[in-house]
Subunit: 247 residues, 2 copies
């Protein structure tokens, strides 16, 4: 469990408050945010060899729409600049060897920590999703299939489950596109309900970066784009994860 | 699983679009929305006798803050007009005997459906929460303790997990305060991270009802109110659930 002192250490405060403490916020120029660093972030984020289980791989629960769109994007990773992001059980795995800002500490206790969007491990019952990222275009596409444990209205995904996968896709996109690390705001306009077991496609775009804030937009639709499920936007705070020095 | 035709039936569309189809939207006057109907909705929502498991009861994982604030509010249910809402495994249990609008149908297949915020059944690992509602004041308080399966940044709750419990608390409040049934929008401004295993208190208030839309606000804080975790607002669409006629 977290020590209570982390609560104080973890205060993000308001952006204005953050700007009063420049010592903990490295100033990132646009070159740093949108230059070659994206490629190195992506390389680090997508290790070629790892023992960690990647949950963003097809399984028997995926609906035909999800499977075929996955294959389409997988083809695009070969020549069109798209990258398939792995999805490990915890963000602790994704940031191995990196130091958190604000004195946040990764505890090494024996708790079974899981990233929220991988909290249900039974295939098909909870979140099924995979994120593809385009470093040059600063875009992401998330294929999301909600299972019956994500229900809100009978037969349909809970609005909160869509909010959470949006936040997760935004977070990964924000980090890889320019070290956007903490969600400052999330605004969602819901248009239609997503049927449980069907595919929803999140199209995510980084719109701009200003004052260490990254502005991201998203439209969530059915695969044939005939049904808009939601439109949303988010603002993320840029904050570099430093390499941990060796002991 | 849901039949594909539900996707069409379930289109909520934009509010303006909804107003073009008044036949499916009963016009609710303020008396209906804020009058005696609230009490009957609450009575129906909180059955005195039921075989259904109520997940909003203390268990060994609750931290001392959560337990003691729960006891405080339980005292307030005796004389101060607060009501403790039960929390069943699925919304299907909450709306038993009611007919959904828009031709949505509760399927009776053998899937193990769960409301998203009760998707993890191991005590303390996922969502621990209880909602108290005040019918006269149109307020709710949700005591929320995120477990290690709700992680985002190491040691802290995922922003999406907070978004989801907000949406859930808003939904129940909106329904009981005036038959607000579908989330139209959700806007969240995140201020601080919530440590896993600690208590966050959501104070929810219905601000107004206009044109069958209900406006709700929320501030999420630590128990001592010294740390604001988030400020948020939501808009819900009013829509009466009809009683199902007996066969």
């Amino acid at each position: 469990m977290m020590r209570r002192s982390f609560q104080v250490a973890a205060r993000l405060g308001h952006h204005k408050a953050l700007l009063r403490t420049p010592c903990v916020l490295p100033k990132l120029g646009s070159a740093s945010a949108f230059g070659s660093s994206t490629n190195s972030l992506v390389s680090r984020f997508c290790p070629e060899q790892t023992d960690l289980k990647d949950y963003a791989l097809p399984n028997a629960s995926w609906c035909p729409d999800m499977l075929s769109l996955y294959q389409e994007f997988l083809e695009k990773t070969k020549s069109n600049g798209w990258v398939k992001l792995p999805s490990f059980k915890s963000n602790r795995d994704h940031i191995q060897g990196l130091k958190l800002p604000f004195g946040l500490v990764v505890t090494s206790d024996k708790n079974d920590w899981r990233i929220f969007t991988r909290c249900i491990q039974v295939e098909g019952q909870g979140y099924e999703y995979v994120i593809f990222f385009h470093p040059f275009k600063k875009k992401s596409v998330c294929l999301f299939q909600p299972g019956p444990y994500l229900e809100g209205a009978p037969g349909f995904a809970h609005g909160g489950s869509l909010a959470a996968i949006m936040d997760e896709t935004f977070s990964k996109t924000a980090y890889l596109a320019g070290e956007g690390l903490f969600t400052l705001s999330l605004n969602i306009s819901f248009k239609n309900l997503i049927p449980i077991g069907s595919l929803a496609v999140l199209n995510v775009q980084v719109e701009k970066i200003e004052d260490q804030k990254m502005y991201i937009s998203c439209i969530t639709q059915s695969r044939d784009q005939q049904t808009v499920y939601a439109k949303s936007s988010g603002v993320f705070l840029q904050m570099q994860l430093e390499e941990e020095s060796s002991p």
